[in-house]
Symmetry: C2
Subunit: 384 residues, 2 copies
């Protein structure tokens, strides 16, 4: 309120112009800007109000509010107090417009509603909140085109930095070029992409997959199947590689028959079970290492329904430590890594870079710890 445009704020769309509320206009800028004629309750307090209240300049108020040393301790205190009594709230647009940063981070994820991702978001939100930053979140739904549009929106909204986990079918990151050109820092998390001007936060997928495969081998499994995801994404490529390497190191050969690539959805898990059951008995795997828990669990459910015993007939290991891994019976051996930490780390590093505390451009990748959680689904031998 306090100026004309408010008369039609909510109906401004589509050429509806209301012009009969001139009585509200501020006739000239300066005189009226400082003479808050009426309805002081109806307009947000500005630094000009504070300035007038204290008989100082708006510049002083602006500086005082952000602890600029140019302002004496005394006036600074008075300004802060006045701001409080007047209920002053900084207008972020004006600030962003002039200062060119928004204290907002863009977050681009494939989907919001997975346990890992929502944990990562929670971690980011926490870190951002801690440092006075906000998050704008969008999901690509595993669709590159939507990812591109979202990236454009983020860029357009002038986010100070971008946190992104790629959609499964993104071939390249050309859609992030505008960010690189403008030197807007980009941090990849989980599903990363090598790029010399941005940083990645994730885990050592190769090692994790290697260890989990090795664990299965250690349990006496000889024919270990792998359920993998889209190899365009590093996480799935590396897990496959780690799996292969473990086989190789233990003199087991990789067989195409024992590798399925899918979306790792519930349906994919069920389909994998069907595939296994359709194999000749001698060709069936004696273990399955799935690149996520969802596929593993739904595969287990279907195999159990078909009468197979887990882990006696077929051992299982997943990835993610999703809540369902602790509900399925037997509980699923899996790889635990905290979405929360990944989100927190990614956001914190990004913010520190923005604040000038650290320099991300010299950091290529941050690898967080992942821990194998051994549960009954893979325990054919009793642990000593």
């Amino acid at each position: 309120m306090g100026q004309g445009s408010s008369c039609e704020t909510n109906i401004r769309k589509n050429q509806i112009y209301v012009t009969d509320c001139i009585f509200l206009f501020r006739k000239s800028s300066f005189p009226l800007r400082n003479s808050c004629t009426k309805m002081p309750e109806d307009r947000e307090a500005t630094i000009y109000d504070i300035a007038k209240y204290l008989n100082v300049s708006a510049a002083t108020v602006s500086r005082g509010l952000k602890n600029n040393p140019m302002i004496s301790k005394n006036t600074r205190k008075k300004i802060v107090e006045a701001a409080k009594t007047l209920g002053y709230q900084s207008n972020t647009f004006a600030s962003s417009l002039r200062s060119r940063h928004t204290h907002t981070l863009g977050v681009l994820v494939p989907r919001l509603n997975s346990h890992f991702m929502s944990s990562a978001l929670a971690g980011m939100e926490n870190a951002a909140n801690r440092h006075g930053y906000n998050l704008i979140i969008a999901q690509s739904l595993e669709d590159v085109e939507k990812e591109k549009r979202n990236a454009a929106t983020m860029f357009n909204k002038r986010v100070d930095g971008l946190l992104i986990s790629l959609s499964s079918n993104a071939q390249d990151i050309n859609h992030l070029e505008p960010f690189f050109k403008r030197k807007i820092p980009v941090v990849f998390f989980d599903r990363v992409f090598p790029h010399e001007e941005s940083t990645s936060v994730g885990i050592n997928n190769h090692e994790a997959a290697y260890n989990i495969t090795k664990h299965l081998i250690g349990q006496g499994c000889k024919r270990i199947m792998h359920l993998g995801g889209n190899l365009l994404r590093n996480v799935y490529q590396e897990r496959l590689n780690g799996y292969k390497k473990a086989l190789q190191d233990h003199h087991l050969s990789f067989s195409k028959k024992l590798y399925l690539s899918s979306t790792l959805s519930e349906q994919a898990g069920t389909d994998a079970a069907r595939y296994i059951l359709d194999l000749a008995p001698g060709e069936r795997p004696d273990a399955v290492f799935s690149a996520n828990d969802t596929a593993a669990v739904y595969c287990m459910l279907a195999l159990k329904a078909a009468g197979l015993r887990i882990p006696e007939d077929i051992a299982f290991a997943g990835f993610n430590n999703d809540p369902i891994s602790r509900v399925i019976e037997p509980n699923l051996t899996t790889m635990d890594y905290s979405g929360n930490s990944i989100g927190d780390t990614a956001a914190t590093n990004l913010i520190n870079h923005l604040k000038g505390i650290s320099n991300l451009y010299t950091t290529d990748a941050i690898t967080l710890r992942a821990e194998m959680v051994i549960r009954a689904s893979s325990l054919k031998k009793l642990p000593e």
Copy 2:
């Protein structure tokens, strides 16, 4: 770039002021504003660039870009083309500062990482995206104080509207007063709060709980326990009431011994199992209706471990249709309602209100459909 402040953009924090880059300053406003001296690649195109490019005024460009009928079809087309060739992107701050709306919705949730909530967010994100709106998301972690701070931040960021699901221990909604005062529409979803100036989106919890309890009774259960949540939240209060009403209507009496209030966490589920096992055999419930799936599932797991059979010894029903309800064995009977739809509906209605298409102030509540999903955990009798 193109003006002095950029020299210290990333290190502006904490009194670091760099002053030796005067060569970049724009000496006077108008002459230089239109004479893009150098590095045209380094500065975002503005309406002034387009104006100069076409020899029209910035005002005309501004109007042309938003299809103001005041501008002739011809110039309008030229403006749009020029905008495209110059790679123009509207500066949302300048726009928001002047026009006083942000095309941004604030979303305040208790936690991001639950299945229901992340689905709701996904639904909102979709709806918002569809209408050119963005989401700023924050979580209260079930802490009123954080909820208050977040609300203040949202308000401060001048969101056009607020979508909120209350933290479990919020006693009132005084912290939303600033929104009401400024006529910023607030939509509650799931965990709602009665308020004459805002709308609620959710399901009929009373009816749902009534039906699910009635279903258990229909299965022959006589001693039905209820695991409930914090009664400050309508969802839990209503579920309790629906449960009680169903008991009453079927001549079963409510017993305090068969009602536990908790956070409905995994631990709470396990604790409930302990509680049940500690009851004298004659006092044990023959069914449990939990206000969420998590508590139900962890209670089931513990009871199964103790040797109880489900549903023979004790039937189970949950609420939410969380993924874990389809993994637990036997599968959990539950109440299915789409977080996605709730999010979508809440956001869509809010946006329609903002656009003037509908008026939310006349809408008190929007109730979405919820559907009972009967699974093995409650089936003591064979369905006909």
